[in-house]
């Protein structure tokens, strides 16, 4: 494992991952194993886990103790909330959103998966693809997670592992292809998190499997930062106006490129006003850029002295989105208090927060059956549905199935400020039901 040394000072790529899976399928152990095998756990942390394991009467260190961080979690032996883990190989650094499979699974899966470029879904080899697996896969499809890996865990505990693995893989493939994933975006790997089989080291116990280890797969799977399906989308975050002796007239528009790419000289349109101008410079504190793509925080300097402020979007004129005052959206309801028609809420989309009124509840999605029932009276905690929304100020959005960044929004309680829902502009449910991922 010496080639897996975490501490390479070389330039690496950052990959955002999440885990999903049901309780007791060994998720904490797998995450602990990933950290341990990539040497992301240091001696004092191992010592602490070893001491705690001995206290519990165990003969080998319980790797799940590496990750269950809260007092209540250690007391109850369960994972309560999303936690973030860090590990690295010489090629990639990983941010892993470790989501509990316990109660409130949808809420946590949605949180973890919203930023994930890839999700590691776990199943217990003895149980195979269960209803929880189907629900998780449906939610991940809805959220547009680009890549999936199914870790078939505890493979050492089944009688005929070759057949079991083949059966689970076939069933999972048929599930994910019906949800719209291309076969090259989904990989199944037989593992034993407890013994480390096929996590970092190829196992001799799985002669029927000739694919990559989990870590080999994680560090080699091709992942685009954001596929180029739309032109430039640049939500303006903040107007930089130094008004200093050195920079008396400087006026730049700070933000993060949400989609597409920008180059000096590009003609752009400011939305919602529709005014057109040209980008003259892309500034950063380190110097000018000759281009900036999705994910980069920059400051744009424009040719004309136009009216632009926080909440506006600078876009490419060729495929500029129509500002939306009223639209349909798919929401995952995250709050205890149910959503009912007519609710007055706040909506945060990109850098704009505006008042919103929920119109009708169009349908409720059944993640288990991949069907919908029309006109529910309410959406309860963890339920997913399609609703119509009206906003006080138009939002400049793309359909979520086209772009995750410009198609996502939050619904916020105007009273307490809590986040109530994850919102996806457009009818993501229909796309999932029809298996039409784009």
């Amino acid at each position: 494992m010496s080639d897996l040394h975490v501490h390479s000072p070389r330039s690496t790529q950052l990959l955002r991952l999440a885990t999903a899976g049901s309780v007791d399928d060994g998720k904490s152990t797998l995450v602990g194993r990933l950290l341990y095998d990539t040497k992301s756990v240091l001696a004092d942390q191992i010592d602490a886990v070893t001491r705690a394991s001995v206290d519990k009467g165990l003969s080998t260190p319980d790797l799940s103790l590496l990750v269950d961080g809260l007092r209540a979690e250690r007391e109850q032996g369960i994972t309560i909330d999303v936690a973030y883990r860090y590990f690295a190989t010489p090629r990639r650094s990983f941010v892993l959103a470790d989501t509990p499979g316990h109660v409130q699974y949808t809420r946590n899966t949605v949180s973890g998966a919203s930023t994930a470029q890839m999700v590691i879904l776990l199943v217990d080899a003895r149980k195979g693809v269960i209803s929880q697996t189907r629900k998780h896969a449906a939610v991940l499809a809805l959220l547009g997670v680009p890549k999936l890996v199914l870790a078939v865990n505890k493979i050492d505990l089944v009688e005929d592992p070759a057949t079991v693995f083949a059966t689970i893989s076939a069933e999972f493939n048929s599930l994910t292809s019906s949800l719209g994933w291309a076969s090259e975006d989904v990989v199944e790997i037989p593992v034993s998190a407890l013994h480390g089989d096929n996590v970092a080291v190829r196992s001799e116990n799985t002669p029927y499997y000739d694919g990559p280890t989990l870590i080999e797969h994680l560090e080699s799977v091709p992942v685009d930062a954001e596929p180029h399906r739309v032109g430039l989308r640049f939500p303006v975050q903040y107007v930089i106006r130094p008004r200093t002796a050195e920079f008396p007239d400087y006026r730049g528009y700070a933000g993060q490129v949400a989609a597409g790419e920008v180059t000096p000289g590009d003609e752009v349109v400011i939305l919602p006003s529709g005014v057109r101008t040209t980008v003259t410079r892309i500034d950063t504190a380190d110097g000018e850029l000759d281009s900036a793509h999705a994910g980069r925080s920059v400051t744009l300097v424009l040719a004309d002295d136009v009216d632009v402020s926080r909440g506006d979007v600078i876009a490419s004129p060729s495929d500029a989105p129509e500002p939306l005052g009223e639209f349909d959206a798919t929401v995952c309801w995250l709050a205890e208090k149910p959503l009912r028609p007519g609710a007055r809420l706040l909506l945060k989309h990109g850098t704009r927060t505006t008042q919103a009124i929920v119109g009708t509840l169009v349908e409720r999605f059944n993640e288990q059956e991949l069907t919908s029932e029309p006109s529910p009276e309410s959406l309860e905690l963890n339920e997913i549905g399609k609703i119509s929304v009206r906003v006080a100020e138009p939002i400049v959005a793309d359909d979520y199935t086209v772009n995750r960044h410009t198609g996502s929004f939050l619904l916020i309680d105007p009273a307490g400020g809590n986040t109530l829902a994850a919102g996806l502009v457009g009818d993501a449910i229909a796309a999932v039901e029809l298996g039409e991922r784009v």
């Binding site: 001696a43 004092d44 999303v82 919203s114």
Partner: protein, 317 residues
């Protein structure tokens, strides 16, 4: 690259054209942090940056300045001074404030000890005493967003922390009532009296911090680099004598080549033996270390299994 905000516009125009297509881990982490700073500037009334002079808060400040370049930093700094800080760190703090022409608020634990609002602990450790002056400074100045340099890789309880972390009027963190954090849409809504702690370095690891310091040539307090110092050994850590006491009987003072991995209270933070005098040598040393920075040199985290979680619940970072 060191930022010099006195650069003129003409010079700015002549600055290098960078290749915008390269985007590695450090670029992604930097971009995320800058995005977070700008969100807070766009949505809050009175944000403040907690600045201790340590490496994480120095990187935090460096990124904040970058986020608003070429405009001046739109936030003030807040330092909670335990009275047990190493002089080099205080000197560095004041040097940075002067260099960038920043506004600095200092909340002093010693003021609270002097008038009886706080009592010295029997073990003499002052880190836990910072919470009250911190919360008072936040409420007196009506700060509504408080940036901290905490990283989620530091400690198990911090791994559960959100980037925007809502605290109640008492500054308390309730890990079971955290808001879900979705996409890069940060929800900063809060009621009057509540505050939001913001952690732009959440996704940096210790090694990322050092690689970033090396890449951007970030100026740090001198104690991070190997130097000759009079130290004595206690609980496996090399401690500096000071107003906080020590050495006790049987703890011999020696002059050794050491450096600090973290900056904290002088009574609980130890140095490590090191010859690493520059960023490259430190990177190599951090890479080879088999101990976390906290396990190696932070006495206060050894108090109990849940020491950090308990302090966070009280209102500490």
């Amino acid at each position: 690259m060191t930022i010099d905000i006195s650069t003129s516009l003409a010079e700015a125009a002549a600055r290098p054209q960078l290749d915008g297509t390269q985007f590695d881990t450090l670029d992604a982490l930097e971009s995320e942090a800058i995005h977070i700073f700008r969100e807070v500037a766009g949505e809050f009334e009175r944000p403040v940056i907690l600045f201790s002079g340590g490496k994480d808060s120095t990187v935090l400040l460096h990124l904040a300045i970058k986020a608003f370049w070429p405009a001046p930093l739109p936030f003030a700094l807040l330092h909670v001074d335990t009275g047990h800080n190493l002089q080099e760190v205080l000197d560095f703090r004041d040097h940075v404030v002067a260099k960038y022409n920043l506004r600095l608020h200092v909340a002093k634990v010693e003021d609270y000890l002097a008038d009886g609002r706080l009592t010295e602990r029997p073990d003499g450790i002052r880190n836990p005493l910072q919470t009250v002056p911190l919360l008072d400074a936040i409420s007196e100045n009506r700060f509504d967003a408080v940036f901290g340099g905490a990283r989620r890789d530091e400690e198990r309880a911090r791994a559960k922390e959100r980037i925007f972390s809502l605290r109640n009027a008492f500054g308390q963190w309730d890990p079971k009532k955290q808001r879900p954090e979705l996409w890069n849409l940060y929800n900063g809504k809060h009621s009057p009296g509540e505050q939001v702690r913001v952690f732009p370095l959440s996704n940096f690891t210790e090694l990322d911090i050092w690689r970033y310091i090396a890449r951007d040539n970030v100026e740090l307090a001198s104690i991070y680099y190997a130097h000759q110092r009079e130290v004595y050994q206690r609980d496996g850590m090399w401690m500096t004598p000071g107003v906080w006491g020590g050495p006790s009987e049987g703890e011999d003072l020696q002059t050794l080549s050491v450096r600090y991995r973290t900056v904290g209270d002088g009574s609980t933070t130890g140095a490590v033996l090191s010859e690493a005098g520059d960023n490259e040598a430190i990177l190599a040393e951090v890479a080879a270390s088999r101990l976390t920075e906290r396990g190696a040199t932070r006495g206060d985290d050894r108090v109990s299994e849940a020491a950090m979680e308990d302090r966070k619940r009280e209102g500490y970072f």
